[in-house]
Subunit: 252 residues, 2 copies
């Protein structure tokens, strides 16, 4: 799964840019999901006094509204992007206004001042209203999503890579960099997505069918813990592939 | 995780009953989540013209609104209850208006006619407005959640069990019944939750895809060894299903 963010000040043309990109990606036969970061303190999607709102006010910690044509899971907290992305399995996920995750970004801006204030090394393209005035900024293409959508989405296809982990450098820098630096180097063509050792792992862990990323030393701890038991059993072979499934224990 | 449904006709007092039950369960120090089944064709939680609505209209197949204090994942379909419950990790999940899943139920009714129309073998209590008139129906307690909440929630604690699977009888009837019949027999005290063999045989080991049979104490040793590591990782949930795959290190 690949993901990128379109960010920038309001009225810069963010949502329009995203609408156009989503339509074009779909036209190119990709499956697409999206996430909207809402910078508005009082945001509540539910209607005051609705039954689901009454559940919440009564103390329900997680409320879901299940309709005929939609199912809305209302988590009462700001979830980490990694957790949110675990609900997705599309080819591309477009994030609007998200700047706190390790993914390539398109900066949407109205003016050169806005570019200068917001640009960082994770930006591979610039769009929004400024694209009516300039077509390049310090080597970064500035592309109008209305009259040059093809070029913008070609760039998305070229630059956006499979989601990288986003570990603390103290947890993993096995590729030689921290996760964010690797992301920037991939964008620049100075590294490859395959350089992330997590993707090479031989030890995979799934909790309720969702893969959990493990840094290499945790992979080894788990592998050794398992082999310490399994190697004593009839049927064990060195270098065999081992699969363990532990079901719901129905603990009280 | 335990779950039960409160169902019945509108205006019978369903939501009030659920509000009271949620408050009392929380008072008893349980964590509680809830699901509301919405029987309204046109239900849409999002606001027309909102940025997230624009994402959806542009073709985004899964849209999430991430605010400061809530994260709303808007699935564009009616998800199966089993899938919805996979997002929950509470002690109790209260479902409003859900009748298509294998869980104990409280029937909410205004009249004896409504009871007769809607009651089935999965009902362990009756509540709602009818509770002002009768206190028992064919042996099933009829309890008012306003002036007799303690008794109603005591019954929830007594009757509601860890969620059973809901397999097609052709897939599993290893306990001697189909899953729904087992649920009914547990409610009646004619069977135990532990009779579900799926919950029993909970650790499976495959070496090169061949299942290795383990006596229970070896299953426990392996399970404990794995959980000793896995339970420290982000993403671990009590009652989660765990799968580990350890590849052949010689593979490229």
């Amino acid at each position: 799964m690949k993901a990128f963010s379109v960010y920038g000040y309001t009225q810069s043309g963010k949502t329009t840019t995203i609408e156009n990109i989503i339509r074009e990606l779909k036209k190119r036969r990709y499956s697409v999901g999206s996430v909207k970061e809402i910078h508005y303190e009082k945001f509540e999607i539910d209607t005051k006094g609705s039954n689901t709102d009454r559940h919440k006010k009564a103390g329900s910690e997680l409320v879901t509204a299940r309709g005929y044509f939609e199912t809305d899971v209302l988590f009462p907290e700001k979830l980490p992007i990694e957790k949110i992305l675990s609900f997705y399995d599309q080819d591309y996920v477009v994030l609007e206004g998200v700047t706190d995750y390790n993914i390539p970004k398109i900066l949407s801006a109205k003016s050169i001042e806005e570019i200068e204030e917001r640009i960082d090394e994770g930006v591979f393209a610039i769009s929004g209203r400024i694209a009516n005035e300039i077509d390049s900024y310090k080597g970064i293409p500035v592309i109008n999503s209305i009259d040059n959508l093809d070029a913008l989405v070609n760039l998305v296809e070229e630059k956006v890579f499979e989601i990288l982990p986003d570990f603390d450098p103290n947890c993993c820098s096995a590729c030689g960099y921290d996760c964010r630096t690797l992301g920037i180097k991939i964008l620049r063509g100075e590294a490859n997505r395959e350089d992330c050792v997590i993707s090479k792992n031989k030890v995979k862990l799934f909790i309720d069918d969702r893969e959990i990323n493990m840094v290499p030393f945790v992979q080894n701890i788990l592998s050794n813990a398992v082999k310490g038991v399994v190697s004593e059993l009839d049927g064990y072979k060195r270098d065999a592939q081992i699969r363990i499934e532990i079901g719901n224990e129905n603990e009280k």
